[in-house]
Amino acid sequence: MELRKENKVLKGVLVTISFLFLGIFLILPLIYILVTAFRYGISEYINAVTDEYAVKAAMLTLEATLFAVVINTVFGIAAAWLITKYAFKGKKLLSTFIDLPVTVSPIIAGLIYVLTFGRQSFLYPILDSYGIQIIFAVPGIVLATIFVTFPFISRELIPVLTAQGSDEEEAAALMGAGTFHIFRKVTFPHIKWALLYGVVLCTARAMGEFGAVSVLSGHLRGKTNTLPLYIELLYQGYDFTGAFAASSILVVLAVVVLILRLVIEKKGKKELDLNK
């Protein structure tokens, strides 16, 4: 039973402020992108998004995203398992290093890779002799994408594993089960929704990374341009319809991500309630 009457006026004011704020700051830009993209009609829009370079940029974005998701998933699972199931020295330091990439400016992230693999680095002649180019090339873009999304998956898994405790794993280990058996049968069912959520977040951020990729890309149309870089290029060339049309693809993906997030969160919560 509610003890107090809700303050109706206050509620009205606060809810209105919330809607106005989000409407202006978040919704309006989204609508604007879609409106501008279709400004000159559907055919013009289709021309823009099926442009050869647009498709190539989208493919490169997809490639970098795929690498980032796979590597960060492997890393995220291993790191979360390590941090939550064992006691060892240096755990805090490890956590700090894992979280470091998201606190660093994307431009600085790009910079440290330039310093690592650029011409002045001692690694450069070695890699060059094998014909491997990293910066201003696709590997640099992939690395930058991995870096900026590095803790996204481990960060989702660690709280879930901490809350779950280690009793079930200990019980399984006492009965003689091996690492992968325990992980697959006992641990994985607990983390599957959190993992999926982490993958969704990682995908979203990887697709959209601009700053770090911008530093490491050679900005070669059709070669080292990701979708966000391609958008920048069109925008600076005053091809606003093209820029916003390409943006609309990313907008749709972002909305899909948000919807997936809500769905996953709901599923995860339902299962959590079931297992209390």
Binding site: G165, D167, E168, E170, A171, A172, A173, L174, M175, G176, A177, H181, K185, V186, P189, H190, L274, N275, K276
Partner: protein
């Protein structure tokens, strides 16, 4: 013959000394309780036997073999966790079958064994349920069956009744005792509840501050507490330092202190025939607590609030009433020794008779 032995075990958690020179010897087939207050190191001992923790020094011996470097899964033990640790994403059947599947037992044999265990624990028909769909008591039984499935030689239980309601707990206690007796499996369980240990166990190991205080049958601990800690921990004791002011009790040493349990005290209404009237104390009833099957009467004697048990069938006493209190005996602690001191009037009468 000792089946499980711990020799000079020490264990630290960072700076905390959790186990200090632990020496334990447990016979085959016995049901043993590790009893102590929280933080006394009892769970650490259990987890070391299971291989969930490793001692810093000392040897753990099971069936004549040193097992320090043998993983827990190869020590022939079953472990029932305090929170049961049932696999929440597996059915009851899969939970019980888990240990057997790890050992690559043929599926037909697994089926037979699981069904047998389900019958044993009285949970036939629940095999398709998930742990979340079971009651607390059922979860405990399933955890018990899961631990037993691979036919362990030793069963270890960590606070097996802590997570269950009071009423079900009583049922489960006697159920567990019957099961273990029937299976004749060496079992060790951890508890902080002395009633539970006394009722269920053949033998009790009392721990305190990382040390083993005393090992013995419940009767032995009750009758002959070896240390001051056991004297005050077992039973509901009141510490009395000025016991030489009591009639018929004398101090031999100024540092002595005593513990009096309610069972050592009788109270008599004025006018009731009193056997030892001259040696009884006069006191006023300060409080009466209804304990269900009997009454606990609190009286103040020489500044100490002493409890006595009185049957509900005896004539009622009231708060403020003047009564006689007779103390039969008390545990007297001299430094680290404990001895039983009997009311001297009883001793004299015994001589008279």
């Amino acid at each position: 013959m000792a089946y499980v032995e711990l020799h000079d075990i020490n264990k630290h958690f960072k700076k905390f000394h959790a186990s200090k020179d632990i020496n334990i010897s447990i016979e085959k087939g016995k049901l043993v309780a590790l009893l102590g207050p929280s933080g006394s190191g009892k769970t650490t001992i259990l987890r070391m036997i299971a291989g969930l923790e490793n001692p810093d020094s000392g040897e753990i011996v099971i069936d004549g073999k040193v097992v320090n470097n043998i993983p827990g899964s190869e020590r022939g033990i079953g472990f029932v966790f305090q929170s049961y640790a049932l696999f929440r994403y597996m059915t009851v059947y899969d939970n019980i079958a888990f240990g057997l599947r790890v050992k690559k037992t043929p599926e037909s044999e697994i089926k037979k064994r699981v069904e047998e265990l389900l019958e044993l624990i009285g949970c036939t028909g629940l095999e398709k349920r998930f742990p979340s769909q079971l009651s607390g008591g059922q979860r405990q039984r399933v955890a018990f069956a899961r631990a037993l499935a691979p036919n362990p030689q030793i069963l270890l239980l960590d606070e097996p009744f802590a997570a269950i309601d009071a009423k079900v707990r009583m049922e489960l206690r006697s159920w567990l005792r019957q099961m273990i007796t029937k299976l004749n499996i060496t079992s060790i369980f951890v508890t902080h509840d002395q009633d539970e240990a006394i009722e269920v166990a053949d033998e009790i190991i009392v721990t305190n501050q990382g040390r083993v205080e005393q090992t013995g049958t419940p009767q032995e601990l009750y009758k002959n507490p070896a240390t001051p800690f056991v004297a005050q921990f077992i039973g509901q004791s009141t510490e009395v330092s000025n016991f030489d002011e009591f009639k018929c009790f004398e101090k031999e040493d100024v540092n002595q202190t005593a513990f009096i349990r309610p069972e050592f005290v009788s109270i008599f209404k004025k006018g009731e025939s009193v056997q030892f009237e001259k040696s009884a104390e006069e006191a006023i009833v300060e409080d009466i607590i209804f304990r269900g099957s009997n009454l606990e009467i609190k009286t103040r004697i020489h500044g100490n609030l002493i409890s006595a048990i009185r049957s509900i069938n005896e004539p009622a006493v009231e708060i403020g009433e003047e009564i006689f209190v007779f103390i039969y005996r008390m545990y007297v602690v001299t430094n680290d020794d404990v001895s039983l001191l009997t009311n001297s009037s009883i001793a004299e009468e015994a001589i008279v008779i």
